[in-house]
């Protein structure tokens, strides 16, 4: 056996009914890496993450996590093995309080002390959440909701954090904060799979990047190299 990647997709194909959204995706993330997946609307970025987390089932191909086959693991079990998925559009539970939104991230944890210490960690990253524990999630601002969505995922203490367009609809200064936190989490050893349309910023912090187009990976390489790639500059960095 060669070295195992933390996360590895081989020839993954996913369909919505008869429509094929992923046409054989090959992709891997190594321990401690930030890997970004960029592409335009409808390219299949979210579908890739959903297939990994088990929200949709792949028809062909395999997904491995630390060498273990997780291809057909249902969504509620994927988070247990160590993969957290921050979905597109944040998807905060609008009528749960901020505290409950965080608690639900630690749903599988029985030990109250563990939950508390994880919550403390989350507040270190996002002190703003601590002041708003009793506020309903749905009444938070967009930036706060994104922080809460990431905080909720951190409650699972994942090894791999997958983020689907965390910068969507946010002011540049908030985006910068969030990207700083992603880097910080990565420095602590967390592997990151970052989906973005905001290619410039994503490639800037990424070790490696993939470009996806109509369900296929069309380019891959080191982040900074992709940034200077002609095709990418024309398509995504204009």
């Amino acid at each position: 056996m060669g070295s195992t990647h933390v996360l590895e997709l081989k020839n993954v194909e996913t369909y919505y009914g008869k429509i094929q959204a992923l046409k054989g995706i090959d992709l891997y993330v190594d321990k401690g890496e930030i890997v970004t997946l960029i592409g335009s609307n409808g390219a299949g970025k979210s579908t890739t993450l959903k297939t990994i987390s088990g929200q949709v089932k792949s028809k062909n191909g395999s997904i491995h996590y630390n060498g273990d086959d997780i291809t057909s693991l249902p969504a509620h079990k994927t988070s247990l093995v160590g993969i957290a998925h921050v979905p597109e559009g944040r998807r905060i539970f609008p009528r749960l309080s901020v505290k409950e939104n965080l608690l639900i991230g630690a749903f599988s944890i029985k030990d109250k002390k563990v939950i508390e210490s994880r919550m403390k960690r989350v507040f270190e990253y996002f002190p703003r959440l601590k002041e708003r524990l009793d506020q309903k999630g749905g009444t938070m601002s967009g930036g706060e909701q994104q922080m809460l969505a990431i905080g909720r995922a951190l409650m699972m203490k994942p090894d791999v954090l997958m983020l689907d367009e965390p910068s969507m609809g946010l002011a540049p200064i908030i985006v910068e904060q969030i990207f700083d936190i992603i880097k910080e989490l990565n420095n602590q050893g967390m592997s990151i799979l970052l989906v973005e349309q905001n290619a410039y910023q994503a490639l800037h912090i990424a070790d490696r990047g993939y470009v996806i187009q109509t369900g296929q990976i069309v380019l891959e390489g080191v982040g900074t190299e992709l940034m200077t790639n002609r095709q990418i500059q024309e398509a995504y960095l204009a």
Partner: protein, 328 residues
């Protein structure tokens, strides 16, 4: 006219509250399932009815072995209501598993028709068993609580009349209120209650939180059905005689209560149930006085349905409809 209304008020309140809490508990079953699946579980009225029959069966068995005469009525009652709610809890859970889950992604109308089918099925199964065992589909149960209670409300205010009721009223009222409080606690203060609310708000995302959505849906059906079945027992204790069709009208009224409170909203269903119960009893006591005899008490049922129609036309989200800003 006013004098008559005031005079009957204490009795109206006692009767209305008792009926209202019954509606409230059954309404919760509708609203919980709707909240989580957007399905109007028309079979819920029949779960209530099944609870009444299961309770009666246990009661008849207990009395035939002489158990009833050897223990206090309240103990027998607790045994009966616990058995009936567990049984109906599993019944509701089983119905979801075999009839609704395979249709989870089918158009809503198909599931709705299935629910109506399930309710006919339950009516007929119960009728079949009842006729087989007793020769009649109307079944009477020995009464457990029938001391008369005389509430001297006239001593509070001379214009009031006194309120009269059987002690079973009190049992119904107290047990139903306990169920409402326990359920509210369960939904708002426990981990599984939180999971239930999360699944109701966003099923897909809940699954990312290591919540087993199917399990939460099963728990929801279990809890809602167990409450419905327990209420069936209360009905049996109160009225003594039951038939396989008692779930129909009561189910529609409880459903009206759920719509009135804002379907999907549990506390709304509680308030809606109380309002409908009170209004119905108010109508029963005063309709003929108010209309100078044109309409009698038998028209009281119209109120629930008039409310249903009015709410659907003017305020379809109900009194306490979900008013939450959802930012994306």
């Amino acid at each position: 006219m006013l004098a008559h209304i005031i005079q009957t008020l204490p009795q109206v309140i006692v009767d209305g509250l008792t009926l209202g809490v019954v509606y409230a508990v059954v309404a919760i079953g509708y609203t919980m399932v709707y909240g989580i699946l957007e399905l109007i579980n028309f079979a819920h009225g029949e779960i209530f009815m099944s609870g009444a029959f299961i309770g009666t069966t246990v009661l008849l068995i207990l009395s035939s072995v002489g158990f009833l005469s050897s223990v206090p009525a309240i103990l027998a009652f607790i045994i009966i209501i616990v058995i009936a709610s567990i049984a109906t809890g599993f019944l509701g859970m089983g119905i979801e598993r075999v009839a609704y889950r395979p249709l989870r992604n089918a158009p809503k109308l198909i599931t709705l028709i299935t629910a109506i089918g399930v309710s006919f099925l339950l009516q007929d199964i119960v009728r079949f068993i009842a006729e087989l065992k007793t020769g009649n589909y109307i079944v009477s149960a020995p009464s457990l609580f029938n001391e008369k209670i005389h509430l001297k409300t006239s001593s509070i205010l001379p214009q009031f009349g006194d309120a009269l009721f059987k002690s079973s009223f009190l049992v119904v009222l107290i047990v139903a209120i306990i169920m409402l409080i326990v359920l509210d606690f369960f939904v708002n203060r426990t981990k599984w209650g939180m999971a239930m609310r999360a699944v109701a708000q966003d099923r897909e995302t809940a699954s990312l939180m290591s919540i087993n959505v199917n399990k939460v849906i099963s728990v929801t059906f279990f809890v809602g059905s167990a409450l419905g079945g327990a209420t069936g027992v209360l009905f049996m204790v109160q009225y003594g005689s039951i038939d396989p069709y008692i779930g129909f009208i009561l189910g529609i009224k409880a459903f009206t209560a759920a719509v009135l409170g804002g379907i999907g909203n549990i506390r709304g269903a509680m308030v809606g149930g109380l309002l409908i119960g009170l209004l119905e009893m108010f109508a029963a006591a005063n309709l003929s006085t108010i209309t100078h005899g044109a309409f009698g008490a038998e028209y009281k049922d119209i109120f629930a349905f008039a409310i249903l129609i009015a709410v659907l036309i003017f305020k379809p989200e109900g009194l306490f409809g979900k008013a939450v800003v959802e930012k994306v």
